[in-house]
């Protein structure tokens, strides 16, 4: 941040003015805005980050459930189920998340309220958090369907056949054989999806949900210190990503325990 000061040439006539600009952009006066005490917006940013992580966790988890169901339906379902799931994944992967969020947000809240009035209840105000999680989960579900389908296909067929030959019911087969055996194949794709989920939460700013990006925009608009706040939010997102990557590496190693290394010598 201090590097900016070196650009000031002493012979410049506008030196005082430029110094003011640089100090106001990078200097102590705007960094104070990030403090946790009430004049600073630091606490708000962290609250926004917490909301973002909450939505990402919820959407990723719910998407995973949709994905497991979707993958099973695509692999073992009847022809109609397969075609419907194919339509779902194709449409979701071809339409921008922003458009889907708007459609699902409006249509979802509209539908629930119409249902409530039809049942004789007053219309409810849908919780933004729940709506955000639901909308992003539908998007995540389509991608994780594809990831999990590929991972299940990568399991050596004999393992599932052996389990069937032992007379395992489908639920037990899923829990004991399919899910653990596909995990090493699914984790790289799922890790990618988790990182996409954390970044997709920013899109909810467009529908006005106060997660990290929206909070940042409000803070920046109120204080006019756009650069400082967007940089701070960028650092928060980046540290979330880097922290996730550390965890993902551990999970990947854990899921591959007992398996021979697949990565060749580099």
């Amino acid at each position: 941040m201090a590097a900016g000061h070196f650009r000031i040439r002493p012979q410049s006539q506008t030196r005082g003015y430029k110094l003011d600009v640089l100090v106001s952009l990078f200097g102590a006066s705007t960094l104070e805005l990030l403090s946790f005490e009430p004049p600073g917006w630091g606490a708000n940013l962290l609250r926004g980050l917490a909301a973002s992580i909450q939505i990402a966790c919820g959407a990723f988890g719910l998407g995973l459930l949709i994905g497991i169901g979707g993958a099973y339906g695509k692999l073992y379902g009847g022809p109609v189920v397969r075609d419907l799931l194919e339509t779902y994944t194709t449409v979701v992967r071809a339409v921008p998340e922003l458009v889907l969020i708007l459609i699902l947000y409006f249509a979802g809240t509209d539908l629930i309220n119409q249902l409530m009035t039809a049942l004789g209840y007053p219309p409810v105000d849908i919780n933004g958090l729940i709506a955000g999680i639901g909308v992003l989960a539908v998007v995540q579900g389509a991608y994780s369907t594809e990831v999990l389908r590929g991972a299940i296909l990568a399991i050596p067929q004999g393992q599932i056949e052996a389990a069937r030959a032992y007379g395992m019911p489908p639920g037990l087969l899923l829990r004991r054989i399919t899910l653990p055996a596909m995990l090493p194949f699914a984790i790289p794709g799922l890790a990618n999806l988790w990182l996409i989920a954390t970044k997709d939460t920013a899109l909810l700013a467009v529908v006005g949900f106060s997660e990290l990006t929206q909070t940042t925009r409000q803070a920046a608009g109120a204080t006019k210190a756009y650069f400082t706040f967007f940089m701070a939010a960028g650092v928060l997102y980046l540290s979330l990503t880097l922290f996730s990557e550390v965890i993902i590496k551990r999970v990947e190693r854990w899921s591959r325990r007992g398996m021979p290394s697949v990565s060749g010598p580099h």
Binding site: V21, A94, V95, P96, D110, T201, A202, R217, Y226, F230
Partner: protein, 268 residues
């Protein structure tokens, strides 16, 4: 590919058109007909010119930012594989930062952050670039370009690293210069390896373009929002918008498939 083509077209169509599919298609047609009859489309003629302009703007944005981004991504990927450490580390850091933060945040940082920074410097206000820097589209193009470059830099790194070493050594043994090796052997094989991923990433880039509507650029998405705000019709413009994006995605996938089919896939 060639096997699928060997089956006559009629049999392929018949194989695809099973009884349950016919029923599903009829149901889908019924839904479309119901949407066409019972929903409101009277706004369509009035906004048609604007919508066409928006579609054109979206496609323009996609093509320009993908081309520029790929041009930046090639050196980014290359220096991470073969470059000196003082180039490889910044390239890696750039890719990590771009891939680790949301595009919406990058866009707003450039538009609001840089946009509020520039007017404070008199020499920028006096430069010939100033008329452009006052508009929104350079920031949109910039944000989408560096985003594509960041993701594709990582893809190209993998593609460059994946070209077998023996190929490059053989080319050197033939007496090709380093530049010629790059141009004739390394780059074509890396592109060929990266092409399926590039197709997917370009679709993702298309899906990222509506974000520029948040900084007042007029693409097809912002046309749909405008219809919604001016006529209070919610679903019709959004559904049509989804249809437009699906059509563009379909064309993109088709074009990339054609491109992939043109390259013979026998390697080594």
């Amino acid at each position: 590919m060639s096997e699928a083509l060997a089956i006559p077209l009629r049999r392929r169509v018949m194989g695809w058109l099973q009884p349950h599919r016919i029923v599903l298609i009829l149901i889908a047609l019924a839904i479309v007909m119901a949407a066409a009859i019972f929903m409101r489309w009277d706004w369509l003629p009035q906004y048609m010119p604007l919508a066409l302009q928006g579609i054109w703007r979206t496609i323009w944005l996609l093509v320009v930012t993908s081309a520029l981004g790929l041009a930046i991504a090639l050196p980014l990927g290359l220096v991470q594989v073969t470059g000196p450490i003082w180039l490889a580390v910044p390239a890696k850091a750039f890719c990590t930062i771009i891939r680790g933060t949301p595009l919406l945040l990058q866009l707003w940082l450039l538009y609001y952050g840089l946009g509020s920074l520039f007017p404070q410097f008199p020499w920028i206000r006096e430069s010939f670039l100033w008329p452009y820097l006052r508009q929104a589209w350079p920031y949109g193009v910039m944000a989408l370009t560096i985003s594509y470059a960041g993701y594709e830099g990582e893809v190209m790194r993998g593609a460059f690293a994946g070209v077998p070493r023996g190929q490059l050594e053989a080319a050197r043994a033939f007496g090709m210069s380093r530049w010629k090796v790059f141009r004739r052997i390394w780059l074509p094989q890396a592109i060929h390896r990266a092409l399926p991923t590039l197709a997917g990433e370009t679709v993702l880039q298309l899906k990222a373009t509506p974000l520029v509507a948040t900084i007042t650029m007029v693409d097809i998405y912002s046309v749909a929002s405008r219809v919604r705000q001016e006529t209070f019709i919610t679903y019709e413009p959004l559904l049509l918008l989804a249809l437009v994006y699906m059509a563009i995605t379909g064309v993109l996938v088709f074009l990339f498939r054609k491109l992939e089919a043109r390259i013979p896939s026998r390697l080594g």
